[in-house]
């Protein structure tokens, strides 16, 4: 009996050793192909697995499509672009490891990533330290590009959406009295609410109520009772879809009238599931809509569908834009060193991307339009309009 156990243990041990060894060798073979002369190396890090894998995978698809297009057209200055992708499993510490490896071992010239601001902030510090330019496709927290002069993004920042919705409420819906219900625990929500309020007041609107909740709350009836007494024309709820759905329901139950408005935190198919009929007709700002009739967008949608067999979501479009902005910078750059790429990125101006015309400002944020979507039935979002900054 004892012998059997011993053999069993030995087998287990050898399997473990074998797996460990083979996983090491795989990584080494990846590096040995590094040849700087004929290739331009881009490093990508994203959540390819884990609970946010849909974000990472969609972004990756967009990036790969852009890179394939430019390689087919002959690459940049005779060089083909090769993307090395590492999975950060949706964890900030893994993102730091991935970026360190991309820079020190793979010697990439430019980094693409991440979707989540928390991971972009963690990884951006490393990129800045080694002076390798990093382009985030869709991290909207203002702090991301404040890390340093090598960190860029191709999306707008959170607070901008607040200003967009204020303009939309005033100019398109012509509503004069607004109530705000903000998630006090989320920087994102507070930022949107503040910018909405200041822009709305600047344009002559009146904020009749400005109340708060905490993410995770289930009951919002007390706040909504207070809001109802003020009779607003619109309710701005810059939160995430789970709470927004419940708020919409309870608001309509209590008889709060007026339009419901919000930001890109609404963008989930769960919104209409939780909110039911109450959320229908609400408006929210977003980065992109595949229904936008702009030929650039429609061309992208057709190409993407042909390649992957699905309609590109916002993250895929942002991934694509991050890659083509980087490629455009590489084309313009005096030399293809990280320093040269950085300088060219900073000079990006009126560049036509899928998600709008992109200009990188002195804070290395993208100045670009936002789209406004309307919540329709069957988990569909209708494109309403594009609001320019």
């Amino acid at each position: 009996m004892r012998n059997y156990l011993k053999i069993f243990r030995l087998t287990l041990l050898s399997i473990a050793l074998f797996v460990a060894y083979s996983s090491c060798t795989k990584k080494e073979s990846g590096q040995s192909q590094t040849s700087q002369a004929t290739e331009l190396l881009f490093g990508e890090f994203g959540s390819m697995t884990g609970s946010e894998s849909t974000f990472g995978v969609a972004t990756h698809k967009g990036i790969m499509m852009a890179v394939e297009e430019v390689n087919k057209a002959g690459g940049i200055k005779g060089r083909q672009i090769r993307v090395i992708t590492y999975d950060d499993q949706g964890k900030a510490d893994e993102a730091v490891t991935a970026v360190t490896k991309l820079i020190t071992q793979d010697k990439v010239s430019l980094l693409l990533g991440e979707v989540a601001s928390s991971r972009s902030i963690a990884a951006g510090a490393v990129a800045q330290q080694y002076k390798i330019p990093m382009v985030s496709p869709s991290s909207t927290n203002p702090k991301v590009t404040q890390i340093g002069d090598y960190i860029f993004r191709v999306c707008f920042i959170d607070p901008f959406q607040g200003a967009v919705m204020a303009k939309f409420a005033m100019n398109n819906l012509k509503l004069q009295k607004a109530a705000i219900l903000r998630d006090i625990r989320s920087d994102y929500s507070v930022g949107l609410a503040n910018f909405f309020a200041s822009e709305y007041k600047k344009m002559g609107g009146e904020i009749v109520a400005d109340l708060a909740y905490s993410s995770g709350d289930m009951d919002f009836k007390s706040q909504l009772t207070a809001i109802k007494g003020k009779k607003p024309d619109l309710l701005f709820i810059p939160g995430y879809y789970t709470e927004v759905g419940l708020i919409a329901r309870q608001a309509r139950e209590l008889g709060v009238k007026g339009a419901l408005l919000g930001g890109d935190g609404w963008d989930s198919e769960k919104l209409t599931e939780i909110g039911g009929d109450a959320i229908l007709g609400g408006y929210f700002s977003n980065h992109y809509s595949h229904e936008d009739q702009n030929p650039v967008v429609q061309n992208f949608v057709v190409q993407y569908k042909a390649k992957y067999g699905e309609i590109p979501n916002g993250l895929a479009a942002m991934g694509y834009d991050a890659a083509i902005v980087a490629i455009d910078a590489a084309k313009r750059a005096a030399d293809l060193s990280p320093q040269g790429l950085r300088d060219a990125l900073a000079l990006t101006k009126n560049f036509q991307g899928v998600t709008g015309i992109i200009t990188i400002n002195e804070e290395r944020n993208a100045v670009k339009p936002a789209v406004v979507l309307k919540v329709a039935g069957n988990q569909q979002y209708q494109y309403v309009t594009t609001i320019n900054p």
Binding site: I184, D219, S222, Q223, G229, L254, K270
Partner: protein, 301 residues
């Protein structure tokens, strides 16, 4: 004035759910003198049982809201009862003679187990609880709204509490429960089957949780595996506030907490909602440790 009445209605609806869950805590504490931390997770399982059951019922062609609600509620009560009994049999009964601390830690373990098990089985993403009764306003004045959901929640809770009171005070098994809670050893010497009485206590507590979970799902149609954590804490505070071990206390504690939360959010700030419950807990432990209706038990040394 109307805002005040509106807040009372909102607070009552929320408070009755707290009260139903608090009853489960208090009853188990009454007989076994330990806090069944897994209770709030049984509540969560009940909500998911209701979610699946009502889904099947709708597929099976049941459309009447009353039947749908009654059947889901009944199904969830049965399911919670089974889970409650299993937990009692597997985790608590073997520790009947062990020090109370061991049982308490086991209860925390069971609670964590169910929470993580739920995340594996149901996924961590929030799910949408089906609208068993389509929301309609019964009373819809300019400033005052009373929905059929709120009325249902308050009436069903009140009915359940009356039934519970009747069971505890006017039936044989209720008398046995009170005897066991008074002194478990003497009760068993008098020929009371204590194990069966304790199991029955779990049956009642868990089925109340099952019922509360359906009422909760109907009022707040978003459920997730960690749903029980906050509700459980609030209900626990309600039970302590009313005097843990005291059935009347748990009911009153739950309703008072619900009302207090509604008022604090309306008149002060929403950020104090969760702080309020724990402030109450600290104050009651400092000023009147036995709770509102609790009586001090002298420990014989």
């Amino acid at each position: 004035m109307q805002a005040l009445i509106q807040n009372i209605i909102n607070g009552l609806a929320q408070g009755s759910v707290y009260a139903l869950v608090a009853l489960g805590y208090t009853m188990v504490y009454g007989v076994l003198q330990f806090i069944n931390f897994a209770h709030s997770d049984i509540f969560m399982l009940g909500a998911f049982a209701g979610l699946y059951l009502s889904g099947w019922l709708v597929l099976g062609g049941v459309t009447s809201p009353v039947i749908l609600l009654t059947l889901s509620m009944f199904g969830s009560m049965v399911f919670c009862t089974l889970v409650g009994l299993t937990v009692e049999r597997i985790a608590y009964r073997p520790l009947r003679t062990a020090p109370r601390l061991n049982v308490l830690i086991t209860a925390i373990g069971v609670s964590l187990f169910i929470e993580n098990f739920g995340q594996v089985i149901f996924g961590a993403d929030p799910r949408v609880f089906p609208a068993l009764i389509p929301t309609k306003s019964i009373l819809s004045g300019e400033d005052l709204v009373l929905s059929n959901v709120q009325v249902t929640v308050i009436t069903v809770s009140a009915l359940l509490m009356i039934v519970l009171h009747w069971i505890v005070h006017h039936t044989k098994i209720g008398t046995a429960m009170r005897a066991v809670s008074f002194d478990i050893e003497i009760a068993s010497l008098m020929g009371i089957p204590t194990d069966r009485v304790i199991a029955f206590t779990f049956v009642i507590g868990s089925s109340l949780a099952g019922c509360a979970s359906i009422l909760y799902g109907v009022s707040y149609p978003k459920i997730e595996p960690l749903l029980g954590v906050m509700i459980g804490l609030k209900a626990f505070v309600a039970a302590v506030f009313g005097g843990i071990g005291n059935i009347m206390g748990a009911a009153v504690g739950g309703v008072v907490l619900g009302l207090a939360e509604a008022f604090v959010v309306f008149y002060v700030s929403s950020t104090f909602r969760d702080a309020l419950a724990f402030t109450i807990l600290i104050l009651i432990l400092l000023l009147k440790p036995a709770g509102l209706f609790g009586s001090v038990r002298r420990e014989k040394v």
